[in-house]
Symmetry: C2
Subunit: 344 residues, 2 copies
DNA sequence: ACAAGGGTTGTTACCGATATCAGCGGAAGC
DNA sequence: GCTTCCGCTGATATCGGTAACAACCCTTGT
């Protein structure tokens, strides 16, 4: 005559105890059979597996994580979730994490450091076992929270001078510099640069800096009229061309800090009947399929988006699962590549 | 002389008990002050809040969820994470969920129903309190798992004839049909259709069906040579044009089942010196910025991508937080819109 | 034959929170 | 004045697992 002695009504489904009773063993044996099969005899393992299937048991990861103080989720914070540049990195992360049974939680900060801070807190509250941040700039409290929680973190939008923990990226500064130098070597003298808004965006700022550094190296003094800040989108690229041309009609090259901007710029030039690259060269940041298929095909930088995600996940897992303390402080530079095509 | 009586070493950070001791109250008062402030006196509330800040307490959501059998995470499964069509929906979901303190977990099934099943199990194991699926086709076990878990689900890639629970989408069939009819009314007679692979893809299949239905309504017999199945990407769009033109040179309209395909097709036509829409019309599925800015601007379907995410999240939250049982079984059709431009 | 030790399994005490119900003081009702 | 009720707080059991250690069986060494 079994009686429910608990005053608290059970809500959930089948528990480990049910499996244990069915298999005629203790819950510890079930737990071990599922989590550390090597510690259990062949026979027990099979009996447990069978019981699991018979009763349709799904482990409760909340309970497991709470008890073992170890979770299988990783949090990702990007500035803006609907920006296509993150999808490749996201894919790389997802593939590697999933292969080891980890889940990815994603959120967007809207380029707002204080929102990033809130999200860090929210993720820590969820007890993620790792964090991925796109920014390399963080509020003091965000840094403190992360340090206090002792959670491994990878920054991956840029190479941070002082990494929070680990970092995987390419150098925005060096990439912008390399392309600008490349244009200079090709003979272009009046190289304009269309930047995305640099407010709360370390990537944009570094790109501008790289551009400036290259000009200096080319023996030029950066001309502020050749630098325009704009938002994302095709229309912005077009508008950027208009603004620069108005200020400096003799501009002969246009380097855009984003693929979409470059396409917008290209369309605008074509609308004006300007032959690219004869009248004006165009170069882009970040390779996408589109840039290879427009005419003329656009010279651009290939960034290791997928690899960043992949490597980020590997390092995080190394720290979480294999306790690879030697990874702490690693800053991995995955490099970029200039793709020379017809537009410059 | 306090002594650690537990044999198990504590790993975590500051617990609710620490806050309670600091504030000189019981953990229940802390718990209530944080989760149900109305049930606690003004004074206690303030004392607790102060103690929380002083000791730097972050609640443990794993423990909360386990104890209350209520979680604040929602799982999203998409066929392919690096497809840009999901970003708007993802954004809509994210914004609404976050506003109510929920986190989004995301995973990709790779168009594989059995992988979807595994992911459903993985998410249920994580005790998500809601699921969002892009597919409307699922394995029997996936359906069973979901039913057994009693978790609210929204399907949102298509309108399902038999919803698992709730659905928010537009009708792929009706959209394809509407555009095809539109082209027919504009006077085009030989309308080709470029489809994405239909294997394990209900959306693709419904689009083809809609196209067929429209032709029938136009008094034509669908010509299999005018339907090509292809993969994603600009190159595929171009190649699709090549294949159709070879088989049916007199084709006068080309309806593509995806924005990227349409651009690829447009480029190919221009490469061949064909005037669009004079020689051949082009129409696309799904609106993106690019289609408005190419020349000629491409006639397309505007799909309620963001709204789907938003509404999906609202319905899920309704079920989870407000116990809105009346939502069960709802299928919301958010409609589409034909954007008439120059290419057709 | 007996102690030592490895491999398995079970018992018990937690992980960090919340549900439930009891207790307590003061206002309201008669 | 005394009972009733309400608002607030706390004690205790529990959510579904795992850590740590004890217990047991059997093999091995001497």
């Amino acid at each position: 005559m079994e009686e429910e002695r608990s005053s608290r009504r059970r809500t959930g489904g089948i528990r480990m105890r049910d499996v244990a009773e069915r298999a005629g063993v203790s819950t510890m044996t079930v737990s071990r059979a599922l989590s550390e099969p090597a510690k259990v005899s062949q026979e027990m393992r099979e009996r447990v597996i069978r019981a699991v299937e018979e009763v349709g048991y799904l482990p409760n990861l909340l309970a497991r994580s709470l008890s073992s103080s170890r979770s299988t989720t990783v949090g990702l914070i990007v500035p803006s979730i609907d920006n296509s540049i993150y999808t490749q990195t996201l894919k790389g992360l997802s593939v590697v994490l999933r292969s080891r049974g980890f889940q990815l939680m994603i959120a967007e900060s809207g380029y707002d450091p204080s929102e990033e801070e809130d999200l860090v807190a929210a993720f820590l509250t969820q007890r993620v076992s790792g964090l991925v941040l796109h920014n390399i700039e963080h509020t003091d409290r965000a840094r403190a929270l992360i340090r206090q929680a002792g959670v491994p973190v990878v920054e991956n939008g840029n190479l941070p001078p002082e990494p929070l923990d680990m970092a995987v990226s390419y150098s925005n500064r060096e990439a912008a510099k390399a392309m600008t130098l490349h244009l200079g070597r090709l003979g272009y003298r009046k190289i304009a640069f269309a930047s995305l808004f640099a407010h709360n965006n370390d990537r944009s700022r570094d790109r501008i800096e790289g551009y400036r550094a290259a000009l200096t190296e080319l023996g030029q003094t950066p001309d502020p009229r050749l630098i325009v800040e704009t938002s994302r989108g095709l229309a912005s690229g077009a508008e950027a061309v208009v603004r620069v041309v108005q200020a400096v009609p003799e501009v002969d090259a246009f380097f855009c800090a984003g693929d979409v901007l470059a396409v917008g710029a290209l369309f605008e030039c074509q609308k004006r009947g300007w032959v690219v690259p004869r009248r004006i060269a165009i170069a882009s940041f970040d390779d996408v399929d589109l840039l290879r298929h427009v005419s003329p095909a656009v010279t651009t930088l290939r960034l290791p988006r997928y690899g960043i995600g992949e490597r980020t996940a590997q390092m995080l897992l190394g720290r979480i699962l294999d306790d690879a303390e030697y990874l702490r402080g690693s800053v991995v530079d995955l490099k970029f590549e200039i793709i020379q095509r017809e537009s410059a």
